[in-house]
């Protein structure tokens, strides 16, 4: 989910909306980032501060340490979000948080804070699916109406399209996420995790000249990355020691291979559902090479690519707030006793009620 850091991300958002102004604030903390956002229903972001847990080169982030990071930063982030947005709690309509998927301990931080604030400020809670939040954020920012969605991050790799009330998963990874594969390879090369390992791979790949053959693993609509990672981990050291290639060549070859796989399954999903537009979301989505490859494919099919930059691709509080606000506007809220968090929460479990009612009810639910 996050930039392309490894593991899942947990985010929590709280969104608020005032009837006349539609102010909404939300918090998101997922994977190694925690963020708080304040949004309105038309997608305006009033504030969206975020803090990232950056580990030393060669290391990933672990649930316990990540949760400690979130514990330290969540309350100052809330203060900063409210100050920047220039709103007080009474202007908030609802509080959103990331229910899942993600790492348990970090998710709990957002959930606990949102419950306490809900009781203190007497505001309703809305639990949000992290993956659906990425999709909705991407749609509102780019204006893509009904695209095939490629959701690529450190924790997730899915090809998704909307059909009959839900975001259906047409293809996905059968083992690790593409971002996890890139992150872990960055650790082999001991690239910096700042701002994210995936970004540093992307920069290094631009200097690559020689393509190293790597396994290409597409299985029907699904992809697999763990075998590619094992292969490149094993051969990298050997080839580098023998001066057969440079770290840049390896980054270039890995990117070309895994991105080609993603473009292939995305194109097949487009053919399945007869859609010509693609939206890329998730931390890996800010990789410009992936965007270029996808754009080429889309233009050959007469479609358009919609992508966002790192402000929206990477986990943030605003995406949770906005999605929670959408649900809230359609009458959805989460009772206190159900405001739990869960490590497993599939994209297609969410009833995307706001897309069904788009034509009729619209946002009138807010005023009821």
């Amino acid at each position: 989910m996050v930039a392309y850091l490894c593991l899942l991300s947990f985010l929590f958002t709280y969104k608020a909306c005032k009837d006349e102004e539609n102010d909404c604030s939300w918090f998101e903390g997922s994977a190694n980032k925690i963020g708080v956002g304040v949004v309105t229903l038309d997608g305006t972001i009033l504030s969206n501060p975020r803090h990232t847990y950056i580990t030393p080169p060669g290391q990933g982030f672990l649930p316990r340490e990540t949760a400690q990071h979130h514990l330290q930063h969540v309350l100052p982030l809330i203060k900063s979000a409210l100050e920047t947005a220039g709103i007080t709690p009474d202007k908030i309509d609802c509080l959103c948080y990331t229910k899942g998927p993600g790492m348990g301990a970090p998710l709990q931080v957002s959930a606990v804070v949102v419950r306490v604030l809900s009781l203190l400020w007497k505001k309703p809670i809305v639990g949000v699916n992290h993956c659906v939040a990425h999709i909705e954020m991407g749609r509102i920012v780019t204006g893509a109406d009904d695209p095939v969605v490629l959701y690529v991050s450190g924790g997730n790799t899915q090809v998704i399209a909307y059909s009959e009330g839900r975001y259906r998963i047409f293809g996905e990874t059968i083992d690790i996420a593409v971002g996890n594969c890139l992150d872990r390879f960055a650790r082999v090369l001991t690239l910096s995790n700042d701002p994210s390992p995936g970004y540093n791979i992307e920069q290094l790949a631009k200097k690559g000249e020689k393509f190293i053959d790597l396994p290409y693993v597409v299985k029907g609509m699904d992809v697999s990355f763990s075998g590619i990672l094992s292969y490149i981990e094993a051969t990298a050291v050997e080839k580098l020691n023998n001066n057969e290639c440079t770290p840049a060549d390896l980054c270039y070859s890995l990117q070309e291979t895994v991105f080609a796989m993603l473009v292939e399954i995305t194109e097949r999903a487009m053919a399945h559902c007869d859609k010509n537009d693609v939206l890329i979301v998730g931390g890996v989505g800010c990789n410009e090479r992936l965007q270029d490859m996808m754009r080429t494919m889309c233009s050959e099919r007469g479609g358009k690519l919609f992508a966002t930059d790192d402000r929206y691709c990477i986990d943030n509080g605003a995406m949770i707030a906005y999605t929670g606000l959408l649900e809230f506007a359609h009458g959805v809220s989460t009772p206190m006793e159900e405001s739990t968090f869960t490590q497993r929460f599939r994209t297609d479990e969410v009833h995307a009620i706001w897309r069904e009612k788009k034509a009729s009810a619209g946002i009138n639910g807010l005023n009821s």
Binding site: A67, L71, L75, K79, V112, R115, L117, L120, M336, T340
Partner: protein
């Protein structure tokens, strides 16, 4: 706000543990004085949502009286008691700080 903690370990003797009817030999009591029933009940309500992950190994009971939150842990092994208690302290601290910083008289 004040804070009271009391640990009880019985069952150090494995032989005795084996014949005891109840396996919940390790317990711990924690009391936090919020000096306010309202604040204590907010923290109670927020933390009661998350159940213990291993209910067959650790039990947690919470109650409120006179502005105090009382928490009682029971576990079958000391290590489960420690991890559960330690995780609970993190979120208890977080919930308490949230009440302090965003409760009545909050200034932005």
């Amino acid at each position: 706000m004040s804070f009271d903690l009391n640990w009880v370990f019985v069952g150090n003797n494995s032989e005795m543990a084996a014949v005891t009817a109840s396996p919940w030999d390790f317990s711990c009591d924690l009391e936090v004085d919020f000096e306010s029933d309202e604040n204590a009940s907010i923290v109670h309500a927020a933390l009661a949502v998350d159940k213990e992950l291993q209910p067959d190994k650790v039990k947690r009971q919470m109650s409120i009286a006179n502005g105090k939150l009382s928490v009682h842990f029971e576990a079958v092994e000391a290590r489960f008691l420690r991890t559960s208690f330690s995780a609970f302290m993190d979120v208890l601290t977080l919930a308490t700080k949230t009440v302090e910083q965003f409760g009545q008289g909050m200034e932005l």
